[in-house]
Symmetry: C2
Subunit: 194 residues, 2 copies
């Protein structure tokens, strides 16, 4: 059964990107360290983190990403390696891009349509929304996110983009269904309850 999952890493002070996010520094000043748990931060990833990431990525039948995040990440380069269809929510038309095993479809008809298309493409596997924060808030607010996979990285960014910016509805409830942790990250799994 396909589950719609919001998957994101936040700093201890609640930022999913540091200040001044821009092309070439898509996660802003200091923000790359958010993903040290994924990429090892100069060393090898912890086996716990590696297994967590493999599980998440292996469960994905399609991803949804906001246009800003896609552009800041420069489309993840020439070989993004996601291996499943990617749907980019945008206001600006863009032709479909195929790079290696990954195809990016640009959806200009709204978040619901992007989700419908991602569900169909996922073929029973999970649909994962990776951000940015604004897109995740839209999907959470729309009541379609069934699970939040929140990773807390042990650092402060001091500014940037917050996952929750104080404007969101507070009538969303969360049930923690599991925690996995390593020295680099605490991965909390929440079921989203309306």
């Amino acid at each position: 059964m396909s589950t719609v999952i919001a998957f994101i890493t936040t700093s201890l002070d609640g930022y999913v990107a540091g200040p001044n996010d821009r092309v070439g520094a898509g996660l802003g000043d200091g923000g790359e360290a958010l993903h040290d748990w994924m990429f090892g931060g100069g060393g090898a990833p912890d086996p716990v983190d590696r297994a967590y990431m493999d599980e998440i990525f292996g469960s994905a039948g399609a991803w949804i990403v906001g246009r800003t995040m896609h552009d800041l990440a420069e489309g993840w380069g020439d070989d993004p390696g996601f291996g499943v269809p990617m749907f980019v929510v945008t206001h600006r038309e863009h032709e479909t891009v195929a790079k290696g095993d990954t195809t990016f479809d640009f959806v200009t008809t709204g978040i619901d349509d992007a989700l419908d298309r991602a569900r169909t493409a996922a073929g029973g596997k999970n649909v994962l929304a990776m951000g940015g924060a604004d897109l995740l808030r839209q999907y959470l607010g729309a009541g379609v996110v069934e699970e939040l996979r929140l990773t807390i990285a042990p650092l402060l960014l001091g500014g940037g983009k917050r996952l929750f910016d104080g404007t969101e509805s507070t009538d969303i409830a969360f049930e923690r269904t599991g925690v996995v942790d390593s020295p680099r990250a605490t991965h909390i799994r929440y079921r989203v309850v309306r």
Copy 2:
């Protein structure tokens, strides 16, 4: 060996109190739910949370609290039950208050002096700073906090007082040293590294 510990519960959106905190609703609108893990939220506390709380409170030789928090909590009533000396950091003089097994000393000579007095009173046990957020940021900024015990409650408050408000130094690093979790809370233990 005595350790200086900041101990606080935050919502998923980073608030340690909801909007409109006031006497009679010291944790603001909706904020009492932050402490459902401690008090059961209408039921019995989870054994995991109960054990965590017992461990924390049992390790404390003295507590430090900000005057605003003390006043909003109305001094925790007639029988606060902390059982160890409490030091209240304040700009306004107040005579020492003894209630049941708990004494409140009001310290007008700054956070360093409050810490010195708490250390002495703790007699080798831990000194715990419970908040508010502003006081914890001051102690973290002063480099005297050795451990952060952060509890994340699975709810959104949408506004209020944030533990980290974006103004703090980001040159504090954290090492996660342990995680304990229940359905109501994820308790993360960090060593603070300068």
